[in-house]
Symmetry: C2
Subunit: 137 residues, 2 copies
DNA sequence: TTCCCGATTTGGAACGGTTCTATTTATGCT
DNA sequence: AGCATAAATAGAACCGTTCCAAATCGGGAA
């Protein structure tokens, strides 16, 4: 369980002014590692902050990603998912329920970038898709 | 250069009824390996078939993907890209110009799926992002 | 503390990609 | 040729995201 003070500190580490809203968004990400979408974050935070705007969630997340504090996952064609864990790991999307799972025990060599003289590779994303245990019947 | 007859044959191979429109879409994919979006395909084909509907492109591509004849790339958050090459290879998206490049000379071991008792992995997608040579200045 | 200015938040409109739906058209079979 | 089914069409609808102008916040200066 992470505290708001820890979210505050993390934002400062990435040179992000820790407004109330940004701190709450970061707090949500730290305490909910299920790769939430904008809507998931919004629908929870609106309950404790009734004036919250969806745009603020977008603004905050876009800023976090631009500063490298958070990773955006392009794995679900429906909407973007956000991950506060920026370490090297892969993801699995269940085609049935839409949940995104971490694949942590994966060889780090998979993330080594191939030699490409024409392309300047900055990020690597490894995505698996299929059916998770809960959805198998 | 592929012929319409070859597109026709390829559709039959995947048990897809080769209508005029479907054959044209497949023909476009075979002859344009730059991972086109729906809009790119539509805006070219509409020139030779003025009554063509955008929905038809969607219908055709969704069917191709469902039958395994074509792969959809979830790499660009803006729109889906389609690839008629279903062999094991990775992709690179240029953040500047949006072009998607093939990464063909990549070790096939990267596509081996990790052992996951809870997850039934069906597909693997490896995506690189950065800046391509043309966009470097 | 109070004032001020730039940064942030807000809400609603706008945008764009994709899907849905009802209708029309084409296709294959008898 | 006629019929039944499949496919294509056009436009509305949907939904995630961005844009924009106005309101609000917050931190430094006086």
């Amino acid at each position: 369980m992470y505290s708001l003070a820890q979210s505050h500190q993390l934002l400062l580490k990435y040179s992000i002014r820790p407004s109330v809203q940004r701190t709450m968004v970061m707090d949500y990400l730290l305490n909910n590692r299920n790769h939430p979408s904008v809507d998931e974050i919004f629908s929870v935070l609106i309950r404790t902050m009734p004036t919250l705007s969806r745009t603020t969630i977008y603004n905050s997340l876009n800023l976090f990603v631009a500063r490298g504090a958070v990773r955006v996952l392009v794995i679900d064609e429906k909407n973007a998912r956000y991950d506060v864990d920026i370490s090297l790991h892969a993801h699995f999307l269940c085609k049935e329920c839409g949940k995104v799972y971490d694949i942590l025990n994966i060889r780090k060599e998979l993330f080594e970038v191939p030699e490409m003289q024409d392309l300047e590779i900055e990020t690597v994303e490894i995505s698996y898709k299929g059916i998770c245990k809960n959805c198998r019947h």
